[in-house]
């Protein structure tokens, strides 16, 4: 996969609320940026791009367990304001179909929105450097997905959902109070990750293992997404170059 959907039940409440709060803030910024445009034009464009993202997710890709996202392409076409709202719309629909958590819609929208914004920014930069739209789009896609995956890992690290921390705290406390600490872990209540004390060594070790899984599985997904987005960009540039014109003044 190129893009991890954070499921419910993983992230502590303060982070869920922070994700929703930041998403609301960014939606307000996007709405302000779009306020001068004709809403009758903006709404269908956001809706169509959202539908395209959902459509791409259903495409039968010949790599096991993988689906496309087209978030980067959405950023390239629509820009950050419309693209961010499209990412939110898609995440709302995905959450309702159990593709990503309902409580973490905010965080998932932030990650999707980051891909959209990076797609817009990187496409504009890469298009100046690379002559072929395929190369520019593919590189923009890989870099955007790499950064968004790292951001997702940052959320995981930030929420301190590492159970090693809990184990260490429990074992220290039990060793101090009891003489038979070995089996008591099983009876200890599992605390919410956010409550855990910090133990940098174990935290880093566990995060490294998780990051290794995510980056190695993600790399295949980024390559698949880059190839498809590159092909789409090449096709559209030949047929309707105005749709992907990085110099277009209407994008915000």
């Amino acid at each position: 996969m190129s893009h991890l959907h954070i499921p419910d039940g993983l992230i502590p409440l303060p982070w869920i609320l922070a994700g929703i709060g930041l998403t609301v803030l960014l939606v307000c910024v996007a709405l302000r940026a779009l306020s001068m445009r004709d809403r009758a034009r903006v709404v269908p464009r956001i809706a169509t791009l959202s539908a395209l993202m959902l459509l791409a997710m259903g495409l039968p890709i010949p790599v096991l367990g993988y689906h496309l996202n087209l978030t980067v392409l959405t950023g390239m076409i629509a820009g950050p304001a419309e693209g961010f709202i499209a990412a939110l719309v898609v995440n709302l629909i995905l959450a309702l179909t159990a593709h990503g958590g309902i409580t973490v819609v905010g965080l998932n929208a932030l990650i999707g929105g980051l891909e959209v914004c990076l797609g817009w920014l990187l496409w504009r930069s890469c298009r100046r450097v690379f002559r072929r739209p395929f190369a520019a789009a593919a590189i923009a896609t890989v870099v955007a997905l790499l950064i968004s995956t790292t951001a997702m890992l940052g959320i995981v690290a930030g929420t301190r959902i590492n159970p090693d921390l809990a184990l260490h705290r429990h074992s220290h406390a039990e060793l101090a109070e009891h003489t038979e600490p070995a089996d008591d872990h099983e009876h200890a209540e599992l605390e919410e990750p956010a409550d855990h004390e910090h133990a940098p060594g174990s935290d880093v070790g566990s995060l490294k293992a998780f990051a290794a899984i995510v980056y190695s599985a993600g790399a295949v997904g980024w390559a698949v997404e880059a190839l498809v987005v590159g092909s789409i960009a090449e096709f559209i540039t030949k047929s309707r170059p105005d749709m992907l014109d990085p110099g277009s003044g209407r994008r915000v």
Binding site: L4, H5, I6, P7, D8, G9, V27, L34, R39, A40, V43, P44, A47, T48, L49, S50, A51, L54, L55, G58, I61, P62, V63, H67, L70, I77, I85, L88, V89, V90, L92, I93, A95, T97, A98, H99, G101, T103, N162, P163, D164, A166, H185, E189, L190, E191, E192, P193, S206, A209, I213, L227, V228, S231, I232, F235, I236, S239, R240, M243
Partner: protein, 234 residues
């Protein structure tokens, strides 16, 4: 994710859950979701999961589809849990069970309630652009999915997408490119239709729901009891 199939289940299903009022199902689902996430131990998470399965089983033979949908977040939760499995298997297990319960709640809600009803509830707390885009995205999806299927059929009739994965992905890219070009034309048509119909800042929902029946009260009471029990187990 097959949105068409989900829509078919929600619109044409005939089960007790389909008969319940949409806002009641949304409220009951939110409460069960809270119960699923509030579980802190594997036993509490398993109890919440069992309660959610009971709730979902009211959708009768649709249960297996909802369970299949709920396995998707389990895959992602499993990925997160994989790095903890040796250090704290109990937390890893709890996280996986929680994600299953939460996924099943969402899947049950959406396979027994038409999207339009769910969106109508969501749109009350969303800015107009977001809620209108949500409605129109859903409608656009069904138009575009037909077109994509036609194009894929045409590709297959002409010998397939290619032998190597690279060729296939490039073909898929071009197919999606065609759909994107057509969607741009569709956007223009939608704009004209909205202007003709006098779109003024928001698509109005005229949905009115009847008063709750005993089944609706039962659902709410069940969800509240489950939440209470899970909180007591903490």
């Amino acid at each position: 994710m097959d949105v068409q199939f989900i829509d078919e289940l929600a619109a044409n299903g005939r089960t007790p859950l389909h008969d319940a009022l949409p806002w009641v199902k949304i409220a009951a689902s939110a409460t069960l979701l809270a119960a699923s996430i509030a579980a802190r131990t594997p036993s509490a998470a398993a109890a919440a999961a069992a309660a959610v399965v009971m709730f979902a089983s009211a959708s009768r033979n649709q249960l297996r589809h909802a369970v299949a949908m709920a396995l998707y977040p389990v895959f992602f939760a499993g990925l997160f849990a994989l790095s903890w499995i040796r250090s704290n298997p109990l937390l890893a297990l709890t996280v996986v069970i929680r994600s299953f319960s939460a996924g099943l709640v969402a899947a049950t809600l959406i396979t027994t309630t038409p999207f339009v009803d769910v969106f109508a509830a969501i749109s009350r707390v969303m800015p107009a652009i977001v809620s209108d885009a949500l409605f129109m995205a859903y409608r656009s999806f069904f138009i575009l999915v037909d077109e994509l299927q036609d194009l894929l059929r045409a590709v297959r009739l002409r010998g397939g997408a290619g032998r190597s994965i690279m060729e296939q992905l490039r073909t898929y890219g071009q197919v999606l490119g065609v759909v994107i070009l057509h969607s741009a034309d569709m956007t223009e048509r939608m704009y004209r239709v909205m202007i003709v119909r006098g779109y003024s800042q928001r698509i109005q929902s005229a949905r009115e729901w009847p008063p709750p029946r005993p089944l609706d009260y039962l659902l709410i009471a069940y969800a509240m009891t489950v939440l209470g029990l899970v909180l007591a187990l903490r």
